[in-house]
């Protein structure tokens, strides 16, 4: 508190500044900008999804109501992309959370030499997704890449990563785990470092082993973090694009096409903008259905920005 304020016998807290509404005009431009740049396009997508707009068709676009959505229900390629999307959320995110936790525990132990490995651990965080995709594309390519060579050294006959549908799915999941586990791990680590040492000391006094203290002290305290970072990763995983584009390009055939990838193909390869918009609307609804319940949890349980 400043001398003057003290002299006046008044407390000038942030509340005093906050109670006047003057500062809102500093926030308003950003909020207005973001709304204009996001809400308008979303509404426009909904509008486009009811039109027959296609850049390959000579006829002018017209209003066709829900026809695009009806067509989606008969589109095997679209229907197949839904489970692929769900797989590319469930598998990578659960592995990222589990592995990220383990990595964070290791880093948190402050073992000699392991401190230096930390720089290695976080390396994927600074690698552009497109470069990540290229690296793995190389690794999966027969002869050029090392994956199958190293597998052959231990007597495993490596699969055709990019030519067999199921292995192509696994290939994408591996890249996603490789690329985003460090972010999750570093996040967990930051939270772990804020856990008071006394808790562990009390555990030791009660005779807890190392595994027990991780299991019964660290893990429960990180539960809100799991939720927060989990929802973050779910949203981002749903939008996974550059990796698929580079590593498999949706293939073999359409085996690794997610909903948004198919939307991209319809819109920009086939130039059927109206139809692609309908796919994107469905994509947005999926996002909403998955995210809304977790958002409510977050709003109730997580503090932000203090």
């Amino acid at each position: 508190m400043s001398l003057v304020a003290r002299a006046l016998g008044r407390r000038m807290g942030p509340e005093d500044l906050g109670s006047s509404q003057a500062h809102y005009k500093y926030l308003a431009p950003s909020i207005a900008l973001l709304l204009v740049l996001t809400i308008l396009p979303m509404l426009f997508t909904v509008y486009l999804s009811s039109s027959s707009l296609s850049y390959t068709s000579p006829r002018p676009p017209r209003f066709i109501g829900l026809r695009n959505y009806e067509r989606l229900l008969d589109d095997a390629r679209f229907l197949q992309s839904i489970p692929v999307s769900l797989l590319f959320i469930a598998a990578p995110v659960s592995i990222q959370l589990a592995l990220g936790f383990i990595v964070a525990v290791i880093m948190n132990e402050r073992l000699p030499f392991m401190r230096w490995l930390r720089f290695v651990f976080v390396a994927p965080m600074v690698i552009p997704p497109i470069a990540m995709g290229l690296m793995w594309r190389v690794l999966y390519t027969p002869h050029l890449g090392g994956v199958n060579y190293f597998l052959s050294l231990v007597g495993i006959d490596g699969p055709g990563w990019l030519t067999e549908p199921n292995w192509a799915l696994v290939a994408i999941i591996i890249v996603a785990v490789w690329g985003w586990t460090p972010f999750v791990g570093l996040f967990f680590l930051a939270v772990m470092q804020s856990i008071p040492e006394e808790l562990y000391e009390a555990g030791v006094i009660d005779g807890a082993t190392w595994v027990q203290s991780v299991r019964h002290i660290t893990l429960p305290l990180l539960r809100p973090t799991f939720a927060f970072i989990g929802i973050f990763r779910v949203i981002e995983s749903l939008g996974i694009f550059p990796i698929i584009y580079i590593v498999t390009n949706g293939g073999p055939a359409t085996a690794t096409e997610t909903v948004n990838f198919y939307g991209f193909v319809s819109g920009f390869n086939n130039l059927r903008v109206g139809y692609a918009s309908a796919i994107i609307v469905v994509f947005f609804l999926m996002l909403f259905v998955i995210v809304a319940p977790t958002m409510r949890f977050l709003l109730r349980n997580v503090q932000v920005g203090d």
Binding site: Y26, I31, L34, L287
Partner: protein, 275 residues
């Protein structure tokens, strides 16, 4: 400190080392590919020891299109950081003043916008830009990147700004300074580090972005992320050049990323964890 048995310590080292190796393997492999001659690249079993060559690097740096792509990426990334700052700095300032509840709701809304997959915005921008004749311009991408960079900067800057002592603001108020003066004369100089860090985070976002770039930029404004994929051409992939180009693209992230590593997640961790 927690008590650790020898077995536990040993397992931690083993798992840590294995994971570290798995992380390094693709990076090292690609750098090796960038330094191998075409002949060595396709040798089987793969050559782990070989005579390195810089031919691919010198080839891409003589490629006019590649150099232009670097210039485009720099223009677009810095442009989007500059305009995003104009919005994000006053916004962050306002957020530090706001009441806790309102601030939290605003921050979560902003985070959600930044996290939403770009695909849900992409088609309309393509349609509108093509009507306005703005496809393949720098400005087209700069505008779109504001969607992600304004929130990104706010979130990265927020924890730094929150640490500025409130007393400074109060004494400024009492001396009759306007909010504008408090922002620019008193507080902005104190959060320099945060501005630089969040600027780098935002720059890297734009530098790395692919989805919008591949659709909106084609020739005049083609970014590095998109230009690289052209080495996967129709006449077979030029693997050496591809690997060298990817290495060049990774450079800013590696150089700046380690400098600001702490800030890349502080925006999210600050306070988000007192669950």
């Amino acid at each position: 400190m927690k008590r650790r048995s020898t077995v536990t310590t040993f397992s931690l080292y083993t798992v840590g080392t294995l994971y570290g190796a798995a992380v390094l393997f693709p990076i090292v492999w690609m750098l090796m590919l960038a330094l191998k001659s075409q002949l060595d690249a396709f040798a089987y079993p793969p050559l782990l020891i070989f005579e390195p060559t810089l031919e691919h690097f010198s080839a891409i740096f003589q490629d006019r299109e590649f150099l232009e792509a670097i210039a485009n990426s720099i223009i677009i990334s810095s442009g989007s950081v500059f305009f995003a700052m104009l919005f994000a700095i006053p916004a962050t300032f306002a957020l530090t003043i706001m009441q806790r509840r309102a601030r939290r709701n605003a921050l979560l809304t902003i985070l959600l916008i930044r996290t939403a997959p770009g695909m849900i915005y992409l088609l309309p921008y393509f349609v509108v830009y093509s009507r306005l004749g703005m496809l393949d311009t720098h400005m087209a991408l700069i505008i779109i990147y504001l969607i992600f960079n304004v929130p990104l900067i706010i979130w990265t800057l927020m924890p730094v700004w929150s640490a500025v002592p409130r007393e400074l603001r109060e004494s400024g108020m009492i001396d009759g300074a306007s909010l504008w003066q408090i922002l620019f004369l008193i507080e902005l100089p104190l959060v320099r580090i945060g501005i630089i860090a969040s600027g780098i985070v935002a720059f890297l976002f734009a530098w790395n972005e692919f989805l919008f770039a591949v659709v909106i930029s084609a020739n005049d404004s083609v970014t590095l992320a998109v230009a690289i994929t052209r080495y996967m051409g129709y006449e077979g992939t030029e693997w050496g050049k591809l690997a060298a180009a990817a290495a060049v693209m990774m450079l800013p992230g590696i150089v700046f990323g380690f400098l600001i590593q702490r800030y890349m997640i502080t925006g999210l961790t600050a306070g988000a964890i007192k669950g």
